[in-house]
Amino acid sequence: MPDLPPRFARPGPAGFAIAAGALALVVSAIGGAGVSPTAFAEGLPALARFLVQAFPPDPSRLPNILGALIETFQMAIAGTAFGVLAAVPFGILAARGLAPGRLVQGAARAVIALCRTIPDLVWGLIFVVAVGLGPFAGTLALAVDTIGYCGRFFAEAMEEAERGPQEALAAVGASRIGIIACAVLPSALPGMIAAALFALEKATRASVVLGLVGAGGIGVELKVAMDLFNYAEAATILICVFVLVLAVEQASQALRLRIIA
C-alpha cells in the first residue's frame, strides 16, 4: 500500500518567495503607518478620560439629535433611491452580452468605476463646492457612491441571468429591450434588490460621516460635540447612530431573506 500523502503540501521556492514578500510588505506597512505600541499605551488614559466623561450620555438635546438623525436617514434613503435608479441603465450598458457595443460597455464600466473608486467623503466635498453646505450635497454624494456600488453588482447579476428564458424570448421575436425587460431583469431582480439593500446599509453608515465635511446629517452634531469636548452629548449621538445602523441592517437582512426565498 502506498504511504499516506502529507497533510500539508510543502511549498516550492515560488511559494516561499511570495510568503516572504507578503510578510515584508506587512512589516514595512506597519512601520510606514506610524504604528507605535508606546503611543498607544500613552493614549489609553486619554481614552479612559473620554469614556468617563461620555458616560452617562447627556440626553438634554435628544430632540435636536433625533431631528438630525432623521435627516441623516432621509439622505441615505433619497441618495440610495436616486443611485439605484441610475444604476439600472448603467448596469445594463455595462453587462456583457446586453450592452449595444464594446465601446458603450467600456464607457459605462468606466463611469461606474469612477463613481466607486472615489470615496463618498470626497464626493461630499465636491458636492459641497457644487451645491453648498447641507443635506442635498450629502444626498448627491450618496447617490453617486450608490451608482458605483450597485452599477457593478447589477451588471454582474444581469450577466448571470439564466440564458434559457432569454433565448425563448428571442425566439418569439422580442427586441433586445424586450428580452432585458421580460427575461433578464426578472431573473436578476433578487440579486439587484439584495445589492440595493446593502447599498442602503452602506449609505446609512456613510451619511453619518458626511456631516463632517458639511454635507448635512448628524455628522455635523457629532463634530460640534467633539470640538466642544461635550463627550456626554457625543455619546448620545453615537448611541443613536448605533441604533439606526443596526435597525437598518436588521430590516435589510430580513427583507433580503424574504425576497431571495
Binding site: E162, G164, P165, E167, A168, L169, A170, A171, V172, G173, A174, S175, G178, A181, C182, A183, P186, S187, L189, P190
Partner: protein, 263 residues
C-alpha cells in the same frame, strides 16, 4: 402505366399537395475549433406535416432547429420559411418572422419568477410589443387569448401561479401555450419530452400532435425516443455526421431501421 402518364400523375399530385413550409438547402455550420456540425443539410417539409428529427447526441439536431430561425447563424446554405429566404432579413424583419414560429425547448425556458399567464402573454410580444411584456400591461384581448391558450393545454386554473412552482410536465405545457400564443404556422420543438418522466413526456407529445393537427401547424421536433418519432410524426429525418442520412415516412416497420440508425 406509361412514363408520360406517370409524370402527369406526379405533376397532379404535386399540384394538389400542400405548399412547402420549410426548405433547407445545403446548410452548413461549424463552431470555432470544432468539426462541422451541419455539413450540407437539405430537406423540405410541406405545410401541416409533422416531422421527427432524430440523431445521436451531438449530431446537430438542436443546431439545425436553431438555424431554422437564425437563433444560430448558419455559415452557409439557405433556409426558406413559407418561401421566404431568411438570410437577407434585417433584425426587425427577422423578429417579425420569428414571431410566427413557435419554439419549445427541452428545458422549457419559462421566466421562473413571473406568473404563468405572463409567460404565455410573452408569446404575443412579436405583434403587441411592450404591451405583452407582462400580463398586467397587456390589453384585455391579449390576456383573454393567453388564458384560452392555457385552457387548450389544460392549465387555465394555474394562470396566477409562479412559473417556478410548476411540475416539469406543467411547465412544458405552459411553454406550448406560449408558442400557441404566437398563432404559429410552424412549431419547432427541441427534445420537448427529454426532461420529463415517460408519462408526462408522452402526454406532452400527444398534446403537440393534437394541437398541430387541429390548427394545421407544421411541426418539426427533435427526439431520442424512437417511440415518439414513430407515434407522433408522419416523417422521420435522421442526422448523422452533419448530413441527412435517413428520410422515411414514419411507420411501425421503420423501428428496426431506427434501431440500426442509433446503433
Amino acid at each position: 402505366m406509361t412514363a408520360a402518364a406517370l409524370a402527369a400523375e406526379r405533376r397532379a399530385a404535386a399540384a394538389s399537395a400542400p405548399p412547402i413550409a420549410v426548405e433547407v438547402q445545403e446548410l452548413r455550420k461549424r463552431f470555432p475549433g470544432g468539426q462541422p456540425v451541419l455539413d450540407g443539410v437539405s430537406f423540405a417539409v410541406r405545410q401541416g406535416q409533422s416531422v421527427a428529427l432524430i440523431g445521436a447526441n451531438g449530431a446537430g439536431k438542436s443546431t439545425l432547429l436553431r438555424c431554422l430561425v437564425r437563433l444560430i447563424e448558419p455559415d452557409d446554405g439557405a433556409v426558406l420559411l413559407f418561401g421566404r429566404p431568411l438570410r437577407p432579413l434585417g433584425p426587425r424583419a427577422l423578429r417579425r418572422l420569428r414571431s410566427t414560429v413557435g419554439m419549445v425547448f427541452q428545458r422549457h425556458n419559462l421566466v421562473p419568477r413571473l406568473s404563468v399567464l405572463t409567460n404565455v402573454v410573452h408569446g404575443a410580444i412579436g405583434r403587441s410589443g411592450p404591451g405583452a411584456w407582462a400580463q398586467a400591461l397587456a390589453p384585455r384581448a391579449v390576456r383573454a387569448e393567453a388564458l384560452a391558450c392555457l385552457d387548450r393545454v389544460g392549465l387555465a386554473d394555474l394562470a396566477d401561479r409562479r412559473a417556478d412552482t410548476l411540475s416539469g410536465g406543467q411547465s412544458q405545457r405552459v411553454a406550448i401555450a406560449r408558442a400557441l400564443m404566437q398563432r404559429p404556422r410552424l412549431l419547432l420543438a427541441d427534445e420537448p419530452a427529454a426532461s420529463l418522466d415517460p408519462a408526462a413526456g408522452s402526454e406532452v407529445m400527444t398534446l403537440f400532435e393534437r394541437l398541430a393537427r387541429e390548427d394545421g401547424i407544421t411541426l418539426i421536433f427533435t427526439t431520442h425516443a424512437m417511440a415518439h418519432a414513430l407515434a407522433h410524426a408522419e416523417r422521420v429525418l435522421g442526422l448523422r455526421a452533419g448530413r441527412i442520412a435517413l428520410d422515411e415516412p414514419a411507420r411501425p416497420a421503420l423501428a428496426a431501421q431506427l434501431e440500426r440508425f442509433f446503433a
